[in-house]
């Protein structure tokens, strides 16, 4: 806490009335040194405990049993059951982010229509679960969705045909669980964008004869599209490497990549194979982030064209 701000030079400079250019350069040099001094610890920390470990994972995934270079682990990871697991991971992530987007959109839109005090309360219901351990919430779902859980008991009491349903240890259970974890992200991201939409634009469209559907699709949707893309891709990425909920709420057919990595390290001592899977997850994440960038710059370019 000792050095919170660069030393106050301006007073001295003003008093001597010296050359302002030189003073500015001196000050800027000081500010740069000060910044470097403060940034160094975190940069070194992350290089050692974040970047270096990821690089050693990459190296390990390319190293054969004889120590030479090989792509064998990737071939392994992308064939047979491992490939199935990767595809299941992609499918569950896609389903989760699609459902999160749709219901997140409805909820966020509803919140923007509420009075501020109610909006605040509802946001509390969205945000507080977000900060409660996902493990605990998953456990709650396991109790809720069991054969004798509240959901099935309610459905039985309502004489819903087919009840009780199998809601756990299948894909439905996993998607319910992961969606409840990813949904708050989607709502927060969408709400931030929707709050910024100028309602006057909708009124303007209506005054010029646009029907509700037209003004929704031609005015509102394009305005909130960046938020939709953001929320969709982020919840997809976060889901890709997700472990807890699929491991606890899925059956053997819902094994996701993170579970496979865990199994290879903990049970099979197969670090190279686990590393290759990790790198594949990483590349998928980067692809998602790149796509996010691309969409962002495209929408900015479109906006600039519109302005010009």
């Amino acid at each position: 806490m000792a050095v919170l701000a660069p030393p106050p030079e301006p007073v001295v400079a003003a008093a001597t009335g010296g050359n302002p250019q030189g003073w500015r350069r001196r000050l800027s040099g000081r500010r740069t040194r000060f910044g470097l001094l403060n940034a160094t610890p975190v940069v070194i920390y992350l290089l050692v405990l974040f970047i270096y470990p990821i690089f050693s994972t990459l190296l390990l995934s390319l190293k054969g049993e004889d120590g030479g270079f090989t792509l064998h682990w990737y071939a392994d990871a992308l064939s047979g059951t491992n490939l199935d697991i990767l595809l299941i991971t992609l499918r569950i992530s896609a389903e989760t982010s699609a459902i999160s987007l749709v219901i997140g959109f409805l909820l966020a839109y509803w919140i923007t229509r509420l009075r501020p005090i109610w909006a605040g309360l509802v946001m509390l219901v969205v945000v507080v679960p977000h900060f409660i351990s996902a493990l605990v919430r998953t456990y709650g779902w396991i109790i809720l969705l069991g054969d004798h859980g509240l959901v099935n008991e309610t459905l039985l009491a309502l004489h819903v045909p087919g009840a009780p349903f199998q809601l756990l240890y299948n894909e439905l259970g996993v998607v319910i669980g992961t969606t409840s974890v990813m949904l708050p992200y989607a709502v927060l991201l969408l709400y931030a964008v929707m709050r910024g939409v100028d309602r006057g634009l909708m009124a303007a469209a209506a005054s010029m004869g646009a029907g509700r559907l037209v003004s929704f699709f031609r005015v509102y949707l394009p305005l909130v599209a960046p938020g939709l893309v953001n929320a969709g891709i982020l919840s997809f990425i976060l889901c890709l490497g997700y472990y807890l909920t699929p491991a606890l709420m899925g059956g053997p057919k819902q094994t996701m990549v993170a579970s496979l990595i865990d199994e290879q390290v903990m049970k099979n001592n197969q670090w190279n194979g686990a590393s290759a899977l990790g790198v594949i997850l990483l590349l998928l994440t980067f692809a998602g982030l790149l796509l996010l960038r691309l969409v962002k710059s495209m929408s900015e370019a479109a906006k600039n064209r519109g302005a010009a």
């Binding site: 470097l36 940034a39 975190v42 994972t57 351990s133 509700r212």
Partner: protein, 284 residues
Amino acid sequence: MIGLRNSVAGRVVLAVISLLVLVFLGMPIVLILVTSFGSDALGSFPPESWTLGWYQQLFADGSKWPAALALSATVAALTTLFSVALGMMAAIALVRSELPMRSAVYGLVLAPLVIPQVVVALGLFLLFEPAAMLGSPIAIALGHTVLATPIAVMILMATLKGIDERLEDAAASMGAGRLTIARRITFPLAAPGVIAAAIFSFITSFDEFFISQFLSSVDTITLPVQVFNVLQFDVDPSVTAVAALLIAVAVVALGLVSVVRKLGSGKDSGLLPVETGISGGDIK
């Protein structure tokens, strides 16, 4: 459905769907809180009779929970220390200085938020295994710090941006030294943000599962790992009480943050600093 937004029916449908979604988000949490006081820990809802038995069992002789709780608290305290110290310096560098390659540094600091945790955990495992540090609370805390630091940095950056630098300049013009300025002006203004960063670092670590799982040994099992093991392998109904305690810790922490921020700023600046961070699209 938006097309119907002006009609009463459309509004009602939207409200009903939204309320159902809120129930969807809140129900697992409410269920655990209620069930933890029910005499049949895994059964009917609402419980037929009430008991504190599960909570008493947690601290009974031979229970494995107190050790796990103590370990998690130690690791979380260490993580808080590391990530607030690193985060404060990083935030100062990012907000209050001319940093070369600023956006690269900022990207590096936030990257752990979007990189799959299993990859981070695997990398840390490969780092600590040869060093024979698996199972060391320090190793787990060092790992958790990677995840907690970005959150601390976001909160502290917002805090520093909110402090008017002219106050410091004014103090300086009246002859205050650097230490005096830090102690009398900057620190009191930044305190609520520092406390919020500390609390969020603490719960990030306290609830973290994957890194703890990869870096744990037979004798060092954190609370979430223990809960996971119980859920996956053996049935121990007192796990419901542990889950309820984890909920309570998170809710108390959030409550503390909002009280501190209210006292600090005198105005309501939103419950959660992270909320603005996440929703502001700061992640990428």
